[in-house]
């Protein structure tokens, strides 16, 4: 089994390194990203004395409560009884802030009143990712924080976090938007061009499908935003560049399930291609046995022998057999990543009997992240 050969991810070395200013936790949905981000941030604040803020996106209710994230005012608040600060991203408010910094107050009012803006700032696909980037940029610009830990939105794909801001930027800057709003102008000079001709049809079709009202709103939105168009893309690109800087550390989070591990591998590939610094992989919810020398088949056999004479012991052996199978299944799944990326350090966090939603639980996870995986105990 490859478990003990791969490099151990030294979380404390990252959290304690003053040169590291941003930690981005990424991975597919449902792998414990938010919990990992919160646990890392709490550890950085408590154990490494760093002035830390954690930016969460969509925490589970009870975790949000224990982080004191009940006031949704889009600014960091100190978490009770800890030096850590935490905030939950408010997508709409962040978008409003962007508009306010870039336009005159009168203009901004017009934009806020526009129905298209209202729809886009709450439901546009990619807005959440873009606003997470934007908020990260803001937190970084205020020199208040030694370390910013970011949780990433629960996208369909982990890669959305990297792609959506650029997509939104392209959209707002876009030729498509301008073409659509001024089909006559665009098609005026080259009537026989298939592109412009079909665009005219398309625009009519869009009008029919989406309704003229939406196009009018869109048009108003675009002209109101005109002054800040370039700014959108520029800001997205700026934050993107920060992510390539060595002051950033990406932490990939996965659970030992085929989909999550596949997604993590895609992400690792992508980070490599973009030259973004991947610090390590956190394998959450791993199972370990304290008695690895007793194999699953041995347990099965013994459980059958003992079924009548020693029923309680037989049950215990069945539990062990189940656990051993799970351990080996998880190791196989994890090896799909570790075999492909032997250079990426890994830390394995044991499954908790119940969900983590308080500070005590986060400290336990932080402890496990830092180095205490049970295999250590059995090795010696």
């Amino acid at each position: 089994m490859p478990t003990n050969q791969d490099a151990r991810f030294d979380v404390d070395a990252v959290l304690g390194d003053p040169a590291v200013r941003i930690v981005v936790c990424c991975g597919s949905g449902g792998v414990g990203k938010t919990t990992t981000a919160a646990a890392l941030a709490l550890r950085a604040a408590e154990e490494h004395g760093r002035n830390t803020v954690v930016l969460t996106i969509d925490p589970a209710r009870r975790l949000a409560q224990s982080l004191g994230l009940t006031e949704l005012d889009n600014v960091p608040r100190q978490v009770k009884d800890t030096p850590l600060h935490a905030m939950q991203l408010d997508m709409k408010r962040t978008f409003d802030e962007v508009v306010l910094t870039h336009t005159a107050r009168e203009r901004a009012k017009e934009i806020f009143a526009n129905p298209f803006y209202q729809a886009m700032s709450t439901t546009f696909s990619g807005t959440q990712e873009y606003m997470a980037m934007e908020k990260l940029g803001q937190l970084r610009a205020s020199s208040e924080w030694d370390l910013i830990v970011v949780d990433t939105p629960p996208s369909r794909s982990a890669l959305d976090f990297l792609d959506a801001p650029a997509r939104l930027g392209r959209f707002l800057d876009g030729r498509m938007l301008r073409l659509l709003l001024a089909p006559a102008r665009a098609g005026g000079r080259s009537m026989f061009n298939l592109v412009t001709a079909s665009f005219g049809i398309f625009s009519k079709a869009v009008q029919k499908i989406l309704g003229a009202q939406l196009l009018t709103d869109l048009s108003g939105f675009v002209s109101a935003l005109d002054s800040m168009f370039g700014g959108f893309r520029e800001r997205a690109e700026q934050t993107y560049r920060v992510l390539q800087d060595p002051q950033t550390a990406f932490v990939l989070v996965a659970a030992p399930e085929p989909d999550a591990v596949r997604e993590a591998a895609y992400f690792a590939d992508r980070l490599r291609a973009e030259r973004m610094p991947l610090a390590g992989l956190v394998l959450n919810r791993m199972h370990f046995s304290g008695v690895p020398q007793l194999s699953a088949p041995e347990s099965t056999e013994a459980a059958q022998i003992l079924a009548q004479s020693h029923p309680a012991a037989a049950q215990v052996l069945e539990v062990h057999e189940l656990l051993m199978r799970q351990v080996s299944r998880e190791a196989t799944v994890a090896s799909h990543f570790t075999d492909r990326f032997p250079e990426v350090p890994v830390v394995r966090v044991p499954a908790q009997p119940t969900d983590v939603h308080d500070l005590v639980g986060l400290r336990t996870i932080g402890h496990a992240l830092a180095n205490r995986s049970p295999e250590d105990g059995t090795e010696t």
Partner: protein, 301 residues
Amino acid sequence: MVTGKGGVGKTTVAAALAIALASHGDRVLLVEVEGRQGLAQLFELEPLPYFEMRLGEIDADLRLLAVDPEEALLEYLDLFYKMGRAGRVLRRLGAIDFATTVAPGLRDILLTGKVKEATTRTDESGQRRYRAVVLDAPPTGRIGRFLNVTAEAARLAKLGPIKSQSEGVAALLRSPMTSVHIVTLLEEMPVQETTDAMRELTALHIPIGKIIVNAASPPLLTARVTQADIKKGLVAAGLPADKPTVTGLQSEANAHLARQAVEEQLREELGRLGRPIVELPLLSDGVDLSGLQRLAGILAG
């Protein structure tokens, strides 16, 4: 329709359900709409094309379809606006991407519209082409918005084909022909989301089918086991019975008991939702065709 929190095994359950429905010789369509190519991965196939492809490996008429919103929009434009070639040019321009991005609701209307079309399609003799259509639907977090097509359409268009199409979809979704099954694990968050989704779907008057507990393991222990009992058993079975082995096994047993208690509580919570519950076992050798057929057997029974 099959929904559930991300990562609970929706695609697996949807596939098992489709196999169960096809087992009596009926033609069944299994559809995915999330652009993940999850069906191709599950059945170890090349990415699915945009047509209903028959699954060759089993002795049943099961067809697979990955609905792509771009393709659905082109098909739709072609149907209503006769834009054959022009549509392809638009796609190169990125216009389709634009239209589905600018109005995310449009995307869902197109996807559900395609599902409705397949469900109600008839052959020359007027017989329904498919006995059943199983949709691997978006996760619980998005299911309400995905299925609430009329509200989305109202925001988009007051008149025209989109409006009438969405009304047709909405009627179908609220009819007895539809049933939304919610997949969960015996874990806190998926159960919470199951409860939330039930409330949301009920408010939308969309019929809810079963709650399907995936990857469930039966309780193995009846009570705490003493070290002495474990030791006696190990000795009787001729296994090493040293102290570390005994305490190790005992702590595994205790952890299992703790887990069992949590699962029991979650089972009760699910029970209170008042829907039929089916438990599917964990496929410990990974999800392959024979495993799916096993799950299908349980779902059919």
